[in-house]
């Protein structure tokens, strides 16, 4: 008997989307302000990260993709959407124009992403109260209108950044259990993770 080699229960591909300048890349960088970030990383930029988290007692591997720089190229972005189970739609609370584009982004995402992909609305730069143009209430109302969960975060102070990924993973996990009740049972949960493996990245 061979020992199980898989070290996770589920894998999820997540995407960060939104207008340029809203801080997508910053949400992927761990310590934006820290001096020790070598310049080669900020110059080249992170394409994606694998992070393993624990959610509801399950080990979940997240693959988080930054779509920065792809905003203008719809066709390239379409390839990014393939297999994505979660999409973080980001706007900048200090830039009303990025908030105005949220509905357009939502439309693009629902057109290109998997039908069951979970969208999550995030207002970034919540630390900058002085320059705030979009209130928390506006964010909440937009999220309610689109029927998606919502959080404000700050990549600068790291506030709520981890929470975005934990919350999103948790919601996807719940959706998954609901939509696949027939596959329930410990073994099958990991099998469904395995089948996803072939369909995403």
């Amino acid at each position: 008997m061979s020992a199980p080699s898989r070290s996770y229960d589920m894998i999820m591909k997540l995407l960060l989307v939104g207008d340029s300048g809203v801080g997508k890349s910053c949400l992927l960088l761990r310590f934006v302000e820290d001096k020790f970030n070598p310049s080669f990383i900020t110059t080249i930029g992170i394409d994606f990260k694998i992070r393993t988290i624990e959610s509801n007692g399950k080990k979940i591997k997240l693959q988080v993709w930054d779509t920065a720089g792809q905003e203008r190229f719809r066709t390239i972005t379409t390839a990014y959407y393939r297999g994505a189970m979660g999409i973080v739609l980001i706007y900048d609370v200090t830039d009303a124009r990025t908030f105005e584009n949220v509905e357009t982004w939502h439309k693009t995402v629902t057109e290109h992403a998997n039908e069951d992909a979970q969208i999550f609305l995030v207002g970034n730069k919540s630390d900058d109260e002085e320059n705030r143009q979009v209130t928390y209430e506006q964010g909440t109302q937009m999220a309610a209108k689109l029927g998606v969960p919502f959080l404000e975060a700050s990549a600068k102070t790291n506030a709520n950044v981890d929470l975005i990924f934990y919350e999103l993973a948790s919601v996807i996990q719940e959706n998954h259990v609901e939509t696949e009740p027939k596959l329930a049972g410990g073994i099958d949960v990991s099998q469904s993770g395995n089948s996803l493996k072939s369909s995403c990245c």
């Binding site: 960088l29 761990r30 310590f31 020790f36 930029g45 990260k49 694998i50």
Partner: protein, 132 residues
């Protein structure tokens, strides 16, 4: 808890490979026997956190517990072919503290651009070994 360097570690099997940087030491991947077997000498690799000639080949990016993959970039390598790779274009960093490089990735075929076909190499000398 103290972790061993490549030189200090005698027994590698099933060790947890960790980020070498202080106050981070994030878990990167478990050194299962199959991964240990992939250890290979590679000359002319891009500059790593510590001078490296030995690398573990990670076949599937999902095997990592935590890793950051940079965007493609022109990386300076002494040789045009590095190990089995005709094109080295990405550096690997810790996904927790963003420091590195801890490894590199590239394609066997020079004309390949499909991310799914990247081969990943993790520097044996740049990571720490946790025998738990």
């Amino acid at each position: 808890m103290s972790y061993l360097t490549y030189e200090e570690a005698k027994d590698f099997e099933n060790a947890i490979l960790r980020c070498p940087f202080e106050k981070c030491n994030a878990r990167l991947i478990k050194l299962l026997p199959a991964l240990l077997e992939t250890k290979t000498v590679i000359t002319g690799a891009p500059e790593m956190t510590r001078e490296s000639t030995q690398f573990f080949k990670v076949n599937d990016v999902w095997d990592f517990d935590n890793i950051g993959v940079l965007r493609p970039a022109e990386l300076k390598t002494e040789l045009s072919v590095v190990g089995p790779l005709a094109k080295v274009e990405r550096l690997l960093i810790c996904s927790d503290c963003d420091r590195g490089p801890l490894g590199f990735a590239g394609f066997k075929d020079d004309s390949e651009t499909d991310v799914k076909k990247l081969s990943y190499f993790l520097s044996c000398e740049s990571v720490l070994y946790d025998k738990q």
